[in-house]
């Protein structure tokens, strides 16, 4: 079967798969960003307990593989009485994994804000929370956005692994179509192109736009 005929016949399934992939991507991104912020700030905390918790989290999630984490959350947590539905387990695992990498970016971004900014915030009598929210984080965000762009691509690629616990994403649909038709070149080729288009023409331009937008907001464009 030619590539064109293949697409005519199977595009609805590839499209629903792409929808699930995008949903997984967005939900995992929300979780990942929340965890990054949380763990990044905790790692800079004065409290040794908080720092220890953050370091443990980061090392565990960066030291093991996403596949292992996914299987653990989906197959082992139910044994502790915590059964998570596969769709939720998917984006949860991917988001928690990315969060560990993002935490280091948050930490680096915050440390890159010049000391004078901290002192100025202190001098105008801001509370630590105000200082972080209004002075430090906006500037940290600008300096850490470029590596976040790469991390978002890694996140999109990571969502392909949720197919291993049978979440019906693009990867899963591709495998199913391959198993029933053996049109491997067509189906895996199409899936590769879809992932590429999502990464190159959706995620990357959005992150670039965000970089420019944030820089302008801080008067640095």
């Amino acid at each position: 079967m030619g590539f064109y005929d293949f697409l005519i016949q199977y595009w609805p399934r590839l499209l629903t798969g792409t929808g699930v992939t995008l949903a997984q991507f967005l939900l995992a991104a929300v979780i990942g960003i929340a965890i990054s912020l949380c763990m990044g700030l905790m790692k800079l905390s004065q409290n040794a307990l908080m720092r220890g918790a953050a370091v443990t989290y980061i090392e565990i999630f960066r030291g093991t593989s996403l596949v292992v984490q996914l299987y653990w959350i989906f197959f082992v947590l139910p044994l502790f009485g915590l059964t998570i539905e596969k769709f939720t387990a998917g984006y949860l695992a991917v988001g928690m994994n990315i969060g560990a990498y993002g935490a280091e970016l948050v930490r680096g971004g915050i440390l890159s804000v010049p000391k004078g900014q901290w002192e100025a915030a202190l001098a105008i009598n801001m509370s630590p929370a105000q200082r972080m929210r209004r002075i430090i984080l906006p500037q940290a965000l600008v300096s850490m956005l470029p590596p976040w762009g790469n991390l978002m691509i890694e996140l999109l690629k990571g969502t392909a692994l949720v197919s291993l616990i049978s979440v019906a994403d693009l990867m899963f649909e591709a495998r199913q179509i391959n198993a029933s038709t053996f049109l491997s070149a067509q189906v895996f080729g199409a899936a590769l192109v879809i992932y590429y288009v999502l990464a190159r023409f959706l995620v990357t331009p959005f992150m670039r736009w965000l970089e420019r937008h944030m820089a302008r907001k801080l008067g640095r464009a």
Partner: protein, 221 residues
């Protein structure tokens, strides 16, 4: 609820350890391919031909923005469609080696670009051929600053080997899956796999950091 069985853990440990061997072999072999191929991809982007540079650049971008697991499937299933049968190990090594070659080519590129302009000019002034210039002047100076990035990807490739389980390479996760479905117990195998990953990747990351510091001191950086 929590019923960790130590006797079962000891019983499965030898199988997991021999699978760890396979995981390490897969990571090592994949890395060797990636190191060699990555350098070739980096050098291919420096030829006078714009067309070659553009093609290689786009190829690297394509591989870097699509999921490794999909590339593994692609290599494994598309070959037979055209009469080329590859074993799971073969296709796994090709896919993972190529994927990381693209990442490493970026690391090399950074290293090559960091060699001062005077070195390039000196090589030309000494009437070196292009091959001599790269082999004796540029690459020896481009590798040390690239070592940190290369080390990170060695740990990265190790953590990505579980994806090879999907085409039947008997590495750690594949073995844990098998043990789990034979005994209907997933807690111990998956947890042990996580611990094995941590036990290897954390010291490896530490060693790489030490090595990086050593190289930097040696070079007087």
């Amino acid at each position: 609820m929590f019923d960790w069985k130590w006797d079962f853990t000891w019983e499965i440990l030898p199988r997991l350890i021999s699978a760890t061997g396979n995981t390490l072999i897969a990571a090592g072999a994949g890395y060797v391919i990636a190191v060699v191929l990555g350098l070739m991809l980096a050098l291919a982007q420096r030829t006078p031909s714009r067309a070659v540079t553009f093609t290689v650049r786009e190829f690297v971008e394509f591989i870097r923005s699509t999921p490794l697991i999909l590339q593994i499937f692609f290599v494994f299933y598309v070959g037979p469609q055209f009469g080329i049968r590859l074993s799971p190990w073969m296709s796994g090594m090709i896919a993972i080696g190529l994927h990381y070659a693209c990442y490493l080519s970026e690391v090399y590129r950074g290293g090559i670009e960091s060699v001062p302009k005077g070195q390039w000019e000196a090589a030309i002034a000494l009437n070196m051929t292009t091959v001599q210039k790269y082999r004796r002047v540029i690459i020896p100076q481009a590798i040390p600053p690239a070592l940190a990035g290369m080390g990170n990807y060695l740990v990265g490739i190790f953590k990505d080997t579980p994806m090879l389980s999907v085409i039947g390479v008997a590495e750690l996760i594949h073995t844990a899956n098998a043990i789990g479905s034979e005994n209907y117990r997933f807690l111990e195998p998956y947890t042990m796999v996580g611990i094995i990953f941590l036990a290897i990747s954390l010291p490896a990351a530490g060693l790489i950091r030490l090595f990086e510091g050593y190289v930097r001191r040696k070079l007087g950086l």
